[in-house]
């Protein structure tokens, strides 16, 4: 089924002034859940949590519910004790809970019950984000717009919304079948094709549906998607010294285009925590964003621990297992840490020091890694401008890539960003590849190496 392309495209920035791009404040705040308003001046913790090692089956299901009960109890208790002005809980379904959508819905109900009780008893403002797993990548090549996994994914949105999800997100995987290979081969052509052509096509198809389901529910808001499977995979690989950092940085900037597509289809935020492309989304659309940084060291290391905080509206720990630490459970401990970080930001805002804190957070990471360099408020504005200046997703992606290269070059030239010889060679190689790209995505597709064509189904992208 081919779709009419959506018509709305951002062509200017909701936040053109870099000094308006700061944590806690978004031009289009989001109200949801139990009295929460996100982006209206305050930053709230977004607590993420997951199961310790345990198989998911009918047999273990009661035990699994018990784990979620325990996590919810501990997190809510700590949030209340910390007197947070509000909190978001994110429930990321595990694959088996999307395969069987009723399971995901059951946990949603359970978590929502805890938030309702905290609202009743302690007036604690809160919202529940639910993120079904994109399980459509099972076939090789994957079938994205039909088939059993696709049906279950859509059903999972439906059931979790019905069970009380306040914010809906997903980390969708369209385009990943090509991007994974391309990334490992360091092949810029194929990377750009995946990010600029395939990804947005799937995003627009999927998010049209999510937005519709949320609208019908009357209570759920479509939060946003994450380029996690793309840009965070690259970041992890760079962390493990498997890919150059400059490649990860350029992929990060380019990935914003595919995530933006969700917002052009009607997503309203808060964007997903692991979507480090969030600041670009915020600058362009004005929606509040969730970010994670040092507070997510439980889930992954990163060179962007402070700078990631600079423009956030929710502050997350990405994911932590329900294991025991000396103080108590890990989800409870991370709730406390996030709450303290948020307290600091909110007090800075109250005292008129938000920009000063934002700039310290930024400066502390900015020139220590190319991946940090593309995340500063200034870089965000530059990348955002480059994106909205172009009309189609492919050209936006290329433009974002060029801008990222330029930012990194500036950093090396004038700001003491130190790159190894190897990294510099890669930067040249990336730039040369970007320069050599054809004018349209179709031309690029035609020129693509044979090995990539077998990896994806054109029909999955309406091509």
């Amino acid at each position: 089924m081919l779709e009419t392309p959506s018509l709305f495209r951002y062509d200017s920035l909701a936040i053109p002034d870099v000094n308006e791009l700061v944590f806690g404040k978004a031009p289009r705040p989001v109200k949801c859940g139990f009295g929460l308003e996100i982006g209206a001046g305050m930053v709230f913790p977004e607590v993420n949590f997951t199961l310790p090692p345990i198989g998911i089956s009918e047999e273990t299901w009661p035990e699994i519910l018990h784990e979620y009960e325990e996590m919810a109890t501990n997190i809510v208790r700590r949030a209340v004790a910390m007197k947070v002005p509000g909190v978001v809980l994110e429930f990321e379904l595990l694959p088996a809970m999307t395969e069987k959508p009723e399971w995901g819905a059951e946990v949603t109900t359970l978590l929502r019950r805890h938030l309702a009780a905290a609202y009743d008893q302690h007036k604690m403002l809160s919202a529940l984000r639910v993120t079904p797993t994109d399980i459509r990548d099972q076939g090789k090549p994957p079938l994205l717009r039909e088939g059993e996994p696709c049906d279950r994914l859509l059903r999972s949105f439906e059931l979790t919304i019905a069970a009380g999800a306040d914010i809906i997100s997903v980390e969708s995987i369209g385009g990943k079948e090509v991007h994974d290979r391309a990334l490992m081969m360091g092949d810029m052509d194929a990377i750009v094709f995946a990010l600029g052509v395939l990804c947005p096509a799937d995003m627009r198809w999927l998010w049209k549906r999510i937005v519709r389901m949320c609208a019908q529910s009357g209570h759920a808001v479509p939060g946003g998607d994450s380029a996690c499977g793309f840009a965070n995979t690259a970041m992890q690989l760079a962390h493990q010294k498997m890919l150059p950092e400059v490649l990860a940085a350029v992929v990060r900037a380019m990935s914003a285009v595919r995530s933006l597509a969700a917002f052009e289809e009607g997503a309203v935020g808060p964007s997903k925590d692991c979507a480090y492309e969030g600041p670009v989304i915020k600058a362009i659309t004005g929606t509040p964003i969730s970010m994670e940084g040092k507070s997510a060291a439980c889930a992954h290391f990163s060179p962007i621990g402070n700078i990631a905080e600079a423009m956030c509206d929710l502050w997350s720990n990405e994911s932590v297992q329900n294991v025991r630490l000396l103080s108590g459970s890990a989800p409870e401990a991370f709730t406390e840490m996030l709450a303290y970080d948020c307290r600091l930001m909110n007090v800075a805002s109250e005292r008129g020091q938000a920009l000063a804190l934002r700039d310290c957070l930024t400066a502390s990471d900015e020139w220590l890694s190319p991946q940090a360099a593309v995340l500063s408020p200034a870089a965000t504005i530059a990348i955002s401008r480059a994106i909205v200046a172009e009309k189609d997703d492919y050209r936006r992606t290329v433009a974002a890539g060029h801008t990222a290269v330029a930012i990194i070059r500036d950093g090396v030239a004038g700001n003491g960003l130190a790159l190894s010889k190897k990294e510099l060679q890669w930067l040249n190689r990336i730039e040369a590849a970007l320069d050599a790209l054809p004018a349209t995505g179709d031309e690029l597709e035609a020129a693509l190496g044979e090995e990539y064509h077998g990896l994806f189904r054109p029909a999955s992208y309406g091509r």
Partner: protein, 215 residues
């Protein structure tokens, strides 16, 4: 001789065309396949592995070298088989049931191939039965299990159980890996070994094959 050094260089540089061309020339000049593999190709991949270790190469360079090696091996393998030469070992690899992460597993597979192992990659979300089947079919020496989710780690245990029930557990060595997996977990479920990353996996695979030979 200078010609052959170029085979080494081509593999290190990840130049599949040249590596293929030189291999053909060498065969035409009656150099034995065994010599090419032992004296040029394996050392080249060892050098690549070293550069990767020293963070001088990234994965793309590594994979390109692997391709250059594979290109040459493509014409050598039938000849080697005819002469009765054996691969370093036969490996079955896959990501366990319920888990779709495969980047790490793919790297391990590529590195093992580079080191001369014959690798059968069963892909992701592989059921215990499929592993059992493949072990019998391929007469594998080593089974490699990957898992990235803590909730799919238990599938490693189930797979080991299936190998046991099928009576093939003692025929193979089992190596497990993936970010959440630990040495201790390997011990707990009775796997033969754990490796933290792809290069370590190669070293371990060599050791396991050696152990199996002496067992």
């Amino acid at each position: 001789m200078t010609e052959l050094k170029k085979l080494y260089d081509a593999i290190v540089a990840g130049d599949a065309k040249t590596s293929l061309a030189i291999t053909k020339e060498a065969l035409a000049e009656n150099v034995t396949p065994g010599e090419l593999v032992a004296n040029y190709m394996i050392p080249a991949m060892d050098e690549v592995g070293k550069r990767f270790e020293c963070e001088d190469y990234f994965v793309p360079e590594l994979l390109l070298s692997g391709r250059a090696m594979k290109a040459a091996l493509g014409i050598l393998r039938p000849l080697l088989a005819a002469s009765g030469a054996q691969p370093a070992g036969r490996v079955i690899i896959g990501t366990v049931k319920g888990d779709l992460h495969d980047i790490g597993k793919n790297l391990v597979a590529a590195m093992l191939e580079g080191a001369g192992f014959e690798v059968t990659d069963l892909g992701t979300d592989v059921s215990p039965e499929k592993f059992v089947e493949a072990v019998s079919e391929r007469k594998a020496n080593i089974v490699c299990l990957s898992a990235l989710l803590t909730v799919t780690m238990p599938a490693m245990r189930t797979t080991l159980d299936a190998l046991r029930s099928a009576g093939v557990r003692s025929d193979v060595k089992v190596m497990i890996g993936g970010a959440p997996v630990t040495e201790q977990y390997a011990r707990e479920i009775g796997a033969d070994s754990y490796s933290e990353n792809a290069s370590a996996a190669v070293a371990t695979a060599r050791r396991l094959v050696g152990e199996a030979a002496h067992a």
